[in-house]
């Protein structure tokens, strides 16, 4: 007999192992400059969004210190109902009071952008999570069971992929009130049943034929056990990668829908641009004159989307050793 060989509780060891694999992953990740840049941008936006509550307070303390009336009754930095009465005409160009200017309704653009940031994150990540959970489970099950289940979900994926999802969302917007969460849910499901199942199924198929699956099966493991314990952990890195790429897609779709004014979202980057568009500031010469109405929001959308994309590509190289440079 061997006496107790494990001196620490199991969870502690697992935590350590997990930390270690994270560290080695980070070592690999660090070499990919673009991915590190992506991560940096994401962190920047996260902080940017999180400090939003401080922004009005700081501004008020600087510019409205001596105006007890305005300080108490109305909030010039509220992203939705804010209005700065001290400025003659709106939209106003960037100034010290409004670093990114104001929109035609007199709202502070920076405050709008900051306020939208966490919502973009929530939308993107929720949609991507839903996509990946659906895609992973369906992909793994299709690969493992094959047959009717496989055929059904693959044809469904074909249909979803062939169907223009933007058009579908437009039609849906007529019937459903597209709030942020509903939109995330719909975008998530649409891409979850779409191409991601194909990719993850292909990956799961390569796992399915490996002998450790047979080894588990011959020991008496149930189907669910094999799918969740053996197949999914092995395709999870790829799922995670697709999650990053899907965040991009979700934010993009939301921006498009908001721009078209089809989503019931009170404030987002897309809404900011839509505001500029609907008030006619995106036409003719005004597009250059009133650049602060659309450029900051546009830059934010582009930056955050590409950040997630770069992060995804960087992770892809780590997940898929064949892409790795020596």
């Amino acid at each position: 007999m061997v006496d107790a060989v494990i001196k620490e509780p199991l969870w502690k060891i697992r935590l350590k192992l997990w930390m270690r694999s994270l560290r080695t992953g980070w070592e690999l990740f660090r070499e990919r400059k673009l991915a590190v840049f992506g991560l940096g941008v994401i962190i920047f936006f996260a902080v940017f969004g999180l400090v939003y509550p401080l922004y009005p307070t700081i501004m008020k303390n600087i510019f409205w210190k001596n105006d007890p009336f305005g300080y108490q009754t109305f909030a010039p930095y509220d992203p939705i109902i804010g209005f700065d009465p001290d400025i003659m005409s709106h939209p106003s160009a960037p100034s010290f009071r409004h670093p990114l200017g104001t929109d035609p309704l007199g709202r502070d653009i920076l405050s709008m952008i900051m306020y939208s940031t966490p919502r973009e994150f929530v939308l993107g990540i929720t949609a991507a999570l839903i996509t990946v959970v659906i895609g992973t489970i369906i992909g793994a099950s299709c690969a493992y069971y094959g047959g009717v289940i496989d055929t059904f979900f693959m044809r469904l994926a074909d249909i979803v992929m062939l169907f223009p999802s933007l058009a579908l969302l437009m039609v849906l917007s007529a019937f459903i009130d597209l709030t942020l969460f509903r939109l995330a849910l719909i975008i998530g499901m649409l891409s979850g049943f779409g191409s991601i199942t194909l990719v993850l199924k292909a990956q799961a198929l390569t796992i399915k034929v490996r002998p450790f699956i047979e080894a588990a099966k011959s020991t008496g493991a149930s189907d669910a056990y094999i799918i969740f314990r053996h197949i999914i952990p092995n395709i999870l890195p790829l799922s995670f990668l697709y999650m990053m790429l899907n965040v991009t897609g979700a934010i993009f779709t939301e921006a498009t829908l908001s721009f078209l004014g089809l989503a019931n979202i009170r404030m987002s980057w897309g809404v900011i641009i839509q505001m500029a568009e609907s008030s006619g500031y995106l036409m003719g010469a005004s597009i250059g004159t009133y650049w602060w109405l659309w450029l900051p929001a546009g830059v934010c959308i582009t930056l955050l989307c590409s950040a997630f994309y770069f992060l995804g590509r960087g992770l892809e190289e780590i997940v898929n050793p064949r892409l790795r440079k020596r």
């Binding site: 007999m1 061997v2 060989v5 494990i6 192992l17 080894a215 588990a216 020991t219 493991a221 053996h230």
Partner: protein, 389 residues
Amino acid sequence: MSNELVLKIEGLRKLFPAERRIFSRTKYFVHAVDDISIEIKRRESLALVGESGCGKTTTGKVLVGLEEPTDGRITVEQEDVTPLLYENESSARRYIERNYVERFSKMDDQQLKTLDGVDGIYAERFLKLSKDGTKFISEFLENRRVRVWQLRRRVQMIFQDPYESLNPRMTIFDIVSEPLNIHEIGNLKEREDRVAEMLASVGLTPPETFMFRFPHELSGGQRQRVAIARALILNPSFVVADEPTSMLDVSIRTGVMKLMMRLADEHNMSYLYITHDLAVARYMSNNIAVMYLGKIVETGPTEEVLQNPLHPYTKALLAAVPIPDPEQKRGEPNIKGSVPKPINPPKRCRFFDRCPYAVEYCEKNDHPKLVEVLPNHKVACYVVSGETK
């Protein structure tokens, strides 16, 4: 009880459809395993030897439930486990109907009482149920799920490739304790102790340095030891070892071979040792069965078969094995052509078109049955058994 039978295979057949048809019945089948019979006694090992594609691995996979048998009976420790190897219950029901109920119904009580072996056990049960076929079947299939599960505990498999048979994302502890986990044996503490003990006994000492590593951190030999530990942790009565040492380097291979023999002794268990290497088979088995195109062509005690091969195929196979001694000259393998695909093979000796001794008789008759030519040494060849004269 040293001569107790652990495994008995009778007339096992496994056909794979060679084509896929939707509306009509499949006409062409690959006869991967075609009517083979094997017996393994406790603590004895049988080597199943043959070239790639002869059906040796398929046989092993049927035994651990990775493939369904097409036909035949498999008995593990005096229990007919064939119904447990079918995926769905209706095939199992059909099997019992065909193999027991129909056969037993035709016999009278006296005849049923004279049956021996496994048949005897089931005949007795049949009589007890006053020859009620439906009752017999439902009793046979009682707790099928649970019994399938229990069967998996008794029969385990070691796979060829130690790099592929361990999940790269699991630690050694998770891999070895997986069978305990699946069979819900012991609590966490007990599992930890059991795994540590098992790792120590396969030579991975001290176990705590190995338990929380990942497979890619171990060498080939160490991985195969982990695979052995996983197979043995449930104390199986026999283990199907599918070329467990063919991917290992020579200097490490002997260690694994010796380990497997020692463990068989300690755990009172038998191996079905599947290999293409006759030299390894010599060291790992008491008995040997040489397979060619889904048939066993020669079987007997290992040393006897290797020193005195009778079947022309065994002779050729032995003559082709390189000898690690430059001074020893070996004979020329006397064989023609190459291995054909066993798709709907014609009704003649399977070895006919490659056999240097084949005569007309071999072509006119179906594949020969195994005949005991020397004590315990059976050969399936008309020429050797003298039937052609």
